[in-house]
């Protein structure tokens, strides 16, 4: 048999399916959210919206203001895989520029 991976507890795999499988559901789209904080500059949020989410200046400023005023802004809606990729891109750029900007994904 295939061996367990090194360091893997085989008991973790005791996930026995007993119910009938349900019909596959079309995967949902995911919102990428930017969260407000007191340290990330408005310019950096606008830069992120333009660079990572390809927004034009107008839209970028609008979303940035939503983040600033409502605490949260939707940067875009994507399939999960893309949302996840954009989110980690934001985290990477924020860290590089030493801003605590938080970016999360949420099911539509």
């Amino acid at each position: 048999m295939a061996k367990g991976l090194p360091g893997q507890d085989l008991d973790d795999d005791l996930d026995v399916q007993k119910d009938q499988k349900t019909k596959p559901k079309r995967p949902k789209l995911y919102k990428v959210l930017l969260h407000n904080d007191d340290f990330t500059t408005m310019e950096f949020v606008v830069f992120i919206l333009k660079d990572v989410f390809h927004k034009n200046e107008n839209d970028a400023v609008k979303i940035m203001l939503a983040v600033h005023q409502q605490g949260l802004g939707v940067a875009g809606v994507y399939p999960f895989e893309i949302a996840e990729a954009k989110c980690s891109k934001v985290a990477e750029l924020a860290q590089l520029n030493e801003f605590p900007l938080l970016c999360t994904t949420e099911e539509e």
């Binding site: 994507y78 895989e81 990729a85």
Partner: protein
């Protein structure tokens, strides 16, 4: 090591994504490229799926849901974390069963854990499960009983699984 066919598939997936001006190389691009690989098509057919139907739906999804890079920006598509996870899983599974190369079958089986992926949804919609793929690549057991069950050569396939 990655089999030559799988390397070709990855290259094709990358060029498809680039051609469409997509920013990321996703599992959907990978599945689309796998549909050009004979080994992967054999698996899909043996598991009762229609290659044509999957291709059609993938094209639709890529056209409707994948954002194109704006004009003026040119970048090679980058691998998504989901794609990296699939390749890592395929690699670890192959390694744990002492296979020396990973091929399209390992990758197909490794895709199923990405539950939120549209590519996986399309496979499941065709009635293909991870177990079907594993049964076929391990033992050549086909799900379709139409008399032309495709037997794999036991000398070259499924080594090291048991």
């Amino acid at each position: 090591m990655i089999s030559k066919e799988l390397q070709d598939t990855l290259n094709l997936a990358l060029s498809e994504a680039a051609k469409r001006r997509h920013e990321y190389l996703t599992l959907e691009h990978l599945l689309l490229a796998l549909l050009e690989d004979k080994g992967a098509c054999d698996i899909i057919r043996a598991c009762g799926g229609s290659v044509k139907e999957i291709r059609k739906e993938l094209e639709e999804f890529l056209n409707e849901n994948m954002e194109q890079l704006p004009n003026g920006i040119d970048a090679m598509p980058s691998y998504t974390a989901a794609l990296e996870r699939v390749l890592t899983r395929a690699y670890m599974q192959a390694e744990s069963s002492a296979q020396t190369t990973i091929d399209s079958g390992n990758v197909l089986a490794a895709m199923f854990q990405e539950k939120r992926s549209h590519a996986v949804f399309l496979l499941e919609k065709e009635g293909i499960t991870r177990l079907d793929v594993l049964s076929y690549i391990s033992h050549g057991i086909s799900k379709v009983e139409d008399g032309k069950r495709i037997e794999k050569d036991p000398a070259t396939e499924g080594e090291g699984f048991t």
